[in-house]
Amino acid sequence: VTACGGTSKEDVKSSGGSNVTAGKADPNAATKKGLTVGFLPKQVNNPYFTTADKSGEAAVKELGSTYKEVGPSSATDTSGQVNYVNTLTQQQVDAIAVSAQDPGALCPALKQAMSNNIKIVTYDSDTNPECRNAFISQASGEDLGRTEVQLLAEQIGYKGEIAILSAAQTATNQNAWIEFMKAELKDPKYKDMKLVKVAYGNDDAQQSFQQTQGLLQEYPNLKGIISPTTVGIKAAAQYLSGSKYKGKVKLTGLGTPNDMRKYVKNGTVDAFELWDPAKLGDLAARTAIALVSGQITGKEGETFKAGDTTYTIGKDGVISLGKPTVFDAKNIDQFNF
């Protein structure tokens, strides 16, 4: 197609094929025991992933298999994560549950693992669909994006300028949520609300801090901030609580109850939301074992039972955890993660 005879995007597209999981599911197959399931979070030592992986561990043990966790110590060390996929492949685990730092970068290594008959489950952050068997989505992006706007709208009375404080510009899930927020804002009931800016704090406390300051200086009439990242919301809350804007500028987004307890109690934050990371890890573990046992293959429409709930696999092998929980002064003390 191209004039100079080279290879361009169009050529590749036409030749690209997708990798569909072969084989047939047997919902009644026995759950295999004595398997090894490797968890590979974006970053070890990250409280969020630790919570998720801990309950993944509990689930794996409960099902009679062995759990192990490996992972890079930095959330931007993509090549480190690739190395760990390789390591797990070498160690011949039966399944890998991975939260991908990059949708594409892990693919060659993951495919390599799948060709060694290892089942791949992604959780929290997905890869390209052809590089894994199933993806456990913490909540549908649509749910998260829209509910956050609804939460903030109630707090500011459907009126005024708002801004978003995101993580890195490349964070795939953040961007998806932000798109849904924008879509929700198109609804006429938000006609008096205006999204003035999306800022990026790169999931770094100091940068998020300074971005919050900048937002408030640039938009003195700012009424509310949505921060769909646990690091961002925490930093923004800490800044607001120590400034004159405390209680005047509303803040919501995704945060953990332990991080946010103080700010909810001192009036900086009214309400925020999150899914339960423990459930996420639990489901990832159970899905992985179901895959290895042959109860599911990752095709759309298959169902399986994890714990007490029955989940149905959606399009592209996506399994959704359900709606997020909203935390406020009334219920926050019931949670501890």
Partner: protein
């Protein structure tokens, strides 16, 4: 063979000196100038910028970096470097946090952080001065070691503001009107350090040994002791900064402070402290720190999209050091011409005196 050389006229010589003095003060002045221009532009673009809250934020942002940069500049003056400051900051902040979490006394917590910092500073200092191995390698090594120990110890735990005594957290953001407590502490530290470096023998020896280590040995300067002291001091200030970080951000985990060493090194370099040792001042380093952190505040305040922030940041950094350098070169060549004029016999001499009054 016994002929006396004609002595140049004292007046001309003196004018050269004063100009020379100015060149050396210039370094700090140039940074201050760049800083003020930047603030002025921002204020023009956004009147909220220099509100009470705005000034407070500006100062607060700089505090932690100023402290660490001050410590670092001492180490750099001795012709060494401490890359482990980021790791030390993280671990000391966590130590103070864990102590406070269990209901400790804030003052003791700060002391604890400083002591821990001193410990790591001593470790670095001992390795560098006794082992006589390149500081860059050793402290890159301790950067990893301390970070590793930190992550093993901290694990996935984290300190949040809720775990800390209210007074401590309030102290982190409070102050006298627009001047935060933390900034006052940093100012006191910088002032005291600068005074010490100028007016005490051991302070001058730090400059001397960085300037020419071999000569320092021959002059009987206790090179190892001074190097050790510089590292220890840097560790202490990093520990203090760790405690301040805790108070300010109320939030510490195993990743706190990683990558900070590059920021600190930039601040020190922008501040005109020379990496080959012996030259520069802590005022410069502190100003460098203020300039760097302010760039980060200025761009959001001007509404520059955060996509552009990183690029502008880098370009400004390069510009700042280039401008500083060009000014220094210009002045040096003016100085040379001037002293050349002064070296000419009588007729030229009067000219140079006239030129001098013109400048005064």
């Amino acid at each position: 063979m016994t002929v006396t050389a004609p002595t140049p006229t004292p007046a001309a010589e003196e004018s050269g000196t004063r100009l020379m003095d100015r060149v050396f003060k210039m370094r700090e002045l140039a940074i201050l100038g760049v800083f003020l221009v930047m603030i002025a532009i921002t204020q023009a673009g956004n009147s909220e910028f220099l509100s009470e809250q705005g000034i407070k934020d500006l100062l607060l942002n700089a505090t932690i970096l100023v402290l660490v940069a001050t410590g670092q500049s001492l180490v750099v003056l001795t012709r060494n470097v401490d890359l482990s400051v980021g790791s030390t900051l993280g671990i000391t902040a966590f130590a103070a946090g864990i102590y406070l979490q269990d209901g400790g006394n804030p003052v003791v917590a700060i002391a604890l952080a400083v002591l821990l910092g001193i410990g790591f500073g001593l470790l670095n200092g001992l390795l560098v001065s006794l082992g006589q191995v390149p500081a860059l390698v050793v402290t890159l090594g301790t950067l990893y070691i301390i970070r590793g120990i930190d992550s093993i110890w901290v694990g996935s735990r984290q300190i949040t503001a809720a775990d800390l005594p209210g007074g401590f957290v309030d102290f982190g953001s409070g102050g006298v009107s627009a001047v935060p407590w933390l900034a006052l502490i940093a100012l006191a530290v910088v002032g005291a350090t600068a005074y010490y470096l100028k007016h005490f023998g051991s302070g001058r020896e730090i400059y001397a040994l960085g300037s020419n280590p071999e000569a320092a040995r021959l002059a009987g300067i206790p090179v190892r002791k001074r190097t050790l002291a510089a590292y220890t001091f840097c560790g202490a200030l990093t520990g203090l900064a760790g405690a301040m970080y805790l108070a300010r951000f109320g939030n510490v985990d195993s990743g706190t402070g990683s990558g900070y060493e590059l920021t600190v090194v930039s601040a020190v370099v922008v501040g005109g402290v020379v990496f080959t040792g012996g030259s520069g001042s802590v005022y410069g380093a502190a100003l460098g720190a203020l300039l760097l952190t302010s760039i980060n505040s200025v761009l959001p305040a001007l509404g520059v999209s955060s996509v552009w922030v990183l690029a502008i940041n880098g370009i400004l950094l390069v510009l700042a050091i280039s401008v500083d350098r060009i000014v220094a070169l210009r002045v040096a060549s003016a100085l040379k011409k001037k002293s050349a004029a002064a070296r000419q016999p009588a007729a030229a001499h009067t000219v140079s005196v006239k030129g001098d009054t013109g400048h005064a």
